[in-house]
Symmetry: C2
Subunit: 116 residues, 2 copies
DNA sequence: ATATAATATCATCAGATGCTGATATGATGA
DNA sequence: TCATCATATCAGCATCTGATGATATTATAT
């Protein structure tokens, strides 16, 4: 695939957005909007498996979307910046205004779509 | 993979964000910030191949990030909403403040990282 | 109709991604 | 020390994704 013909910026930005580009991670970000939670609390709140959550949290952390703090044997995760929420909200707004077409952005080769 | 244990919302939002989660698409969005362009102009401006651009444009359109209008044999693409730019700018800001950790969000299993 | 320019679609394939289950690490308490 | 809870990491896999090159479509002009 190669894909390295871009200024570092686009690669970086793309990775950043990929943090938001998965339903499991969005679910995690959502539950974290209520404040810091431990991994097992996140597991309970989302219904995902422990290793799955752990992997996604690592991703979110690498993307800079969450930060951690240890407390005894617990590790608390929380949103790293209020702008993370802001970005989610802005996306929600935009999406609400668009809504129609996002059914299938998959495969980015857009076959016939737009009906159940 | 299956992955359908989520309220439609997260799936939708994830797809929406995926529109932003690729360097080629970010490059396209960037050149479109200057206003509407035809496909071939976008091809020239980005250096990507025609079919590649065309595929990405289809994706961006499905995600609602761009809209099109035909003029003769040309098709003009442009950003669908000023909030698309706004979202990009907000992401830029956030990313600038974070910057450090986004080197490797790939594989989301976070091996040892953070050094060239 | 033919030729040509602009754009879209298709098949294919390498590589990335996310999930699961098992195992490893780390902290706490007996 | 051992047992246990909390979390992280790993291997394997099925799938998704993006790039390429070839072909199809659409519009214009002759």
């Amino acid at each position: 695939m190669l894909r390295m013909a871009y200024p570092k910026t686009y690669e970086l930005q793309a990775k950043f957005f990929r943090g938001f580009a998965d339903p499991s991670r969005l679910a995690i970000l959502e539950v974290l909007r209520g404040g810091a939670l431990t991994v097992s609390e996140i597991v309970r709140a989302t219904g995902l498996t422990q290793s799955n959550v752990s992997n996604h949290l690592a991703c979110l952390r690498d993307c800079g979307l969450v930060v951690t703090r240890r407390q005894g044997k617990f590790i608390y995760y929380e949103l790293s910046d209020p702008r993370v929420e802001q970005l989610l909200r802005l996306a929600d707004e935009l999406l609400a205004g668009i809504a129609k077409g996002v059914y299938e952005c998959t495969r980015y080769t857009a076959e016939e779509r737009g009906h159940g």
